[in-house]
Symmetry: C2
Subunit: 113 residues, 2 copies
Amino acid sequence: MTAARRGGQQDRVPPHPDVRTISLQQVLEAVVDPVRRRIVGELYAAGEDLACGTIELPVSKSTATHHFHVLREAGLIRQYYVGTSRMNALRREEFDEAFPGLLRALMVERERG
Amino acid sequence: MTAARRGGQQDRVPPHPDVRTISLQQVLEAVVDPVRRRIVGELYAAGEDLACGTIELPVSKSTATHHFHVLREAGLIRQYYVGTSRMNALRREEFDEAFPGLLRALMVERERG
């Protein structure tokens, strides 16, 4: 693999903020959207990383991409590539440390069914 | 006290929803506003009911009234009158039962100081 190619791969990995630098305001603005809560809920329930395409959402692909972006910026998910698939990981431990109990409390919709 | 006067007093007590009928969506739309979180935080920290006028807010009186209204509709506070003072009570037990852990999680800003 050439340096240029490695560079290209790195460019595809988007930047991720340190969760400790994120405000509750930014987190709430992220999770107030029901589609974004659904993404978080799917990852929470799956207990494993999921490709964007495997999470069924009632929005267009470009809108979904925007929602994943907002969640990434709010420190809730980490994104990385496996081949051409963009994978999503819930940053559960880091998030729980910065915002104790919040993620679990937001899962009340899933628990109610 | 006449019947008319009693009726008048009752009219001044605004309606309060059953917290169990409120959606997480409505709650999040209420607490995503920092002024409303501040009101909830003041009541949480005070541990007692507070008159509207005793909670210092960086908004006009009519805007503050709107914020209290949104919190009441979202099941977070109960309002009642003592003389001419509109008092606010955090509906902590009922809310905790409907949304376990959420109120506490939202207090992270106060805990960080």
